[in-house]
């Protein structure tokens, strides 16, 4: 029974994606209609300056937001795992976790209003654009990084840090030689997760981005509201073509290292 459901669920998850990628090779002008094999939409995609520009911007924002999220989220997770009890700790914990569960429209609207009011009061940030989108994505990513780091540090316990202190390491050396290397796997995973969240976001970017800062998902969404485009199919096929071998290599490597 469970295997049957598993197979059905896999079909459910894959059906729209397979169609999407499959019809990328159709010659028909209308998407999701078979008109013979052709690679014309891949050429069209390669020549679509607007889409490529949006993709470039998205990658930049994702890298920046993920890096900022790792710095902030690393600090948040470390404080939550290592600072014990302090005044305001329950509020601190609640605020650190809040972005994980806030509905996107609410965090998008609230961040935008903050930027507008801040500009009104202090003159910064000047208008909305890639910078404000990056900050919005970083605030979401940092919450995920904090969870990963806190879980890692809690699982490790304090005994390794006590051992290092006992062997003569001062607080800074201890952090550099023990805590930071031990946090590294969770920081790397957090960076990847934050980057993926940024690359997949429509709502936060729509609210906090200006007219000059259209990210790839925002562009795809606005096009899709008018109806699907064959170039989007080609993009999906391309993404799958990158992710499938990556996933297979990762699986093979994990199987070998076991």
């Amino acid at each position: 029974m469970t295997r049957f459901v598993l197979v059905l669920a896999l079909l459910f998850l894959w059906a729209p994606v397979v169609l999407l990628a499959g019809f990328a090779f159709s010659d028909a002008r209308q998407p999701f209609l078979w008109g013979g094999f052709s690679l014309r939409w891949f050429h069209a995609l390669a020549g679509n300056a607007r889409l490529l520009e949006a993709a470039g911007l998205s990658l930049l924002i994702a890298a920046g937001a993920a890096t900022l999220a790792v710095l902030a989220g690393g600090a948040l997770g470390w404080v939550l795992a290592r600072q014990g009890r302090f005044t305001g700790r329950p509020l601190f914990g609640a605020l650190a976790a809040a972005p994980l569960v806030l509905p996107e429209v609410v965090s998008g609207l609230s961040l935008l209003l903050l930027f507008v009011v801040l500009e009104h009061l202090t003159g910064w940030p000047r208008g909305r654009g890639a910078g404000t989108v990056l900050l919005a994505h970083a605030s979401l990513g940092a919450a995920y990084v904090a969870v990963l780091v806190q879980a890692r540090l809690a699982a490790l316990g304090r005994v390794l840090e006590e051992a290092a202190a006992d062997l003569g390491a001062g607080p800074f050396t201890l952090f550099r030689t023990i805590t930071l290397p031990l946090m590294l796997p969770s920081l790397a995973a957090g960076w990847g997760l934050a980057a993926l969240l940024s690359l997949d976001d429509v709502v936060l970017a729509s609210f906090t981005g200006g007219p000059g800062a259209t990210t790839l998902p925002v562009l795809l969404f606005s096009q899709l509201r008018m109806g699907p485009t064959p170039e989007a199919n080609a993009l999906a096929a391309l993404l799958l073509a990158v992710a499938l071998p990556l996933g297979a290599v990762f699986w093979w490597w994990k199987g070998r290292s076991r």
Binding site: M1, T2, R3, V5, L6, A9, L10, L13, P16, L19, L20, P31, F32, L33, A72, A75, L76, W78, Q83, F86, F92, L95, A97, A98, V101, P103, E104, V105, V106, S107, L109, S110, L111, L113, L114, V116, V117, A138, S139, L199, D200, V202, V203, P217, L220, F221, L224, P228, A232, N233, L235, A236, L239, L240, V242, A243, L244, G247, K254, G255
Partner: protein, 276 residues
């Protein structure tokens, strides 16, 4: 020092935005850029809180809120109900294949949220793949209107949010003590009884966490209803978006956000407790 920096981050990017939304909900729309006036920030007291009276007196928004909670509840329920057999099926596989099949289940997500929804549009719309197939098979004479329906919206929601329920439930089921189920079987319980009386209760926390992790963001979902749902289906996320982008009534959008948050506060606190 680090704690102070972290607190500043949270204050600026989590607490302050929420406070500003609260203040904005007490403002009034105004002509100009930006299109609002907040009496509270200009030292003129609380003001009339017009947006709130609009919100509470106009059944329009309350209806949207109610529909959103329904949709979120059904979506989260479907995700949890699907996740349990999926996770159990995954755990029955040999460890090497388990990783591969889990990867296979998560791989469609690499295409991205918007493009996955584009796939559903292509599958379900009048000229879509499903209608083409049914017409070609002679089963129907005119295309079935499947897109822009509650069903399409629900399919999109489950497709979009399934991992949020699947991953915590899978982790809890993988970590459970199998000896408990062996003991129940030894005491004469049938497979279904074992699931109901042992497996489900010992993983209830993860099940609840998975449910809430879908329910909370789904209640404010905008993109999926916009792309797959009926045009007239007014949901909280859509209402906030429209008030903000189309009507440019920022105070009303803010008040609606605060109302949505207020309704979701209970589930959010429950989620935080289920984490422990």
């Amino acid at each position: 020092m680090i704690r102070a920096a972290a607190a500043l981050w949270l204050g600026l990017l989590v607490a302050a935005p929420l406070l500003v939304v609260g203040a904005m909900s007490l403002g009034v729309p105004a002509d100009g850029v930006p299109p609002y006036h907040i009496p509270l920030l200009s030292g003129e007291g609380l003001g009339e809180a017009e947006a709130w009276s609009v919100l509470t007196e106009d059944g329009h928004f309350l209806g949207a809120l109610w529909r959103s909670l329904w949709l979120a509840g059904i979506s989260a329920g479907c995700c949890v109900v699907l996740s349990y057999p999926m996770a159990l099926g995954l755990l029955r596989l040999a460890p090497r294949w388990r990783g591969a099949v889990l990867g296979l289940a998560l791989l469609p997500f690499c295409v991205g949220f918007v493009l996955r929804m584009a796939g559903w549009v292509g599958l379900l719309r009048d000229s879509g793949v499903l209608n083409q197939a049914l017409l070609a098979a002679g089963l129907i004479e005119a295309p079935l209107p499947m897109l822009y329906s509650d069903g399409a919206m629900l399919a999109g929601m489950v497709h979009g949010y399934l991992p949020f329920a699947l991953l915590p439930i899978l982790a809890a089921l993988a970590a459970r003590d199998r000896a408990l189920e062996d003991a129940a079987a030894d005491l004469g319980a049938s497979r279904l009884t074992i699931f109901r009386t042992v497996t489900l209760p010992v993983t209830a926390r993860a099940g609840l966490a998975g449910f809430l992790l879908v329910f909370i963001p789904a209640a404010g979902e905008f993109v999926i209803p916009e792309l797959l749902g009926p045009p007239e289906a007014l949901l909280a996320g859509r209402a906030i978006w429209q008030e903000f982008f189309s009507s440019r009534d920022w105070p009303l959008a803010a008040a609606a956000s605060v109302a949505l948050l207020g309704v979701l506060l209970g589930p959010m606190l429950l989620w935080q407790r289920a984490q422990r």
